[in-house]
Symmetry: D2
Subunit: 138 residues, 4 copies
């Protein structure tokens, strides 16, 4: 298992007239969570695209909206990998408000596509290599 | 059952550097689908808030991203109610590209909240009244 | 002079907690205005990129926020070309609410870039050809 | 004069199919710049709304797009007040990329509105009090 936390503040432009973080913006928080998790492993999504020629489109997403997030709150985005990626990579997402209460929980599943051919490929080995130490049985 | 279709064009600002409609923007297409479905019944979400004092926050959402939607494509948003709303209202969503191919499918579940008290309430009767004719058994 | 009008509704996700169309979203309305103006001339920005290999990045923008636009209002986007484009193309923008009152006014200036070389180029001749009849002196 | 810097990374969902930070998203960077400047003075925009009942709608904005900002770049947002606010507050904005090159420059002018009455009011005294030391002549 590998878990990473990152914080992002709710901006005015992200609120709606209910005074809530608009439900459509959580996907961007999910993106930030997984990209910063990769960075914490020494990997960047940018390099994945530019150096390895691999795109990672989203295949599916589930979200539960547990309580509202409000303007200017500093949200903790907790991103967890429960399994080593293979054909897919599945991120478990939990967002907490400043009081430590769960705001939103979900999962997002991505695949790997070779940019040049447009074909689905298995997870790149260099990504698995960074993750493997966290998934070894003791 | 009640089904409604509405069209929206993919705008430049909605694309990402893959050249796809960014996955986080589909939630906005879902919003447009359900709001225009309500309008087709003679109801507006605006009136729900302003006249009836009812907010409709999203409780959960599932999405499958089947194929990319691209810049300037005219997307058909098909919104379907399979059940009369009660405590919740569940919209089935299907998005099609200009070739009639499925781009994205999902469901979104909302509840009803009394703005003044912040309490969850059952579906407002005037909304059920408009929908009931489409759900009567023959 | 060439003028074109197009309508777009203010969506929930575009409002902020003041209940206004968030000021950052007007740029997207400007984009819609100029793209639909081009379409009214039989041109598409998509073809400009794909067939002619020309990108049109924005060089500068000015905006005045005259009165708020609110949720569910149908905004009329009026886009005007006062001069034939040459090195630049300058769109005059006016947005009106349902009562016909000015909500926002501004200008946006774009240049033409050859995608392959990344170099600035003059306005493509096929665009000028479509516009010239509207700018001829009598 | 009072200057403040804050950093924000360009996210995937903010790029467009040119591979640039979409021009419409700069307004959000401007919002972040001015809100974080206020926070550096011990003030929050949230408190301005909730405790003082003052809204700060944007009156006008000018932007020059000097060079593209690209995915994953860490942008430095430099926000400068050149004058003590009175009827208006004017923020000078400069955005720099990781190489220290100017990406975008502009100004944004806001006024102060009493939420309850909807009337324009002068700058709140507590905001001027925090700023005055930085504007005293020597």
């Amino acid at each position: 298992m590998y878990t990473h936390e990152f914080q992002k503040r709710v901006r005015y432009g992200e609120t709606d007239q209910m005074g809530y973080l608009y439900y459509g913006h959580y996907a961007q928080y999910y993106e930030i969570g997984r990209v910063e998790m990769l960075r914490s492993l020494g990997l960047t999504y940018k390099a994945m695209e530019e150096e390895y020629g691999i795109l990672m489109p989203v295949v599916s997403m589930q979200q539960r909206f547990v309580r509202p997030a409000r303007y200017d709150e500093l949200i903790t985005i907790r991103t967890t990998l429960r399994q080593l990626p293979a054909k897919f990579i599945v991120f478990q997402m939990e967002l907490f408000n400043e009081a430590g209460k769960l705001v939103n929980g979900g999962t997002v599943k991505l695949c790997f596509v070779e940019a040049e051919s447009g074909k689905t490929v298995p997870v790149p080995e260099h990504l698995v290599a960074e993750l493997r130490p966290y998934f070894e049985e003791n």
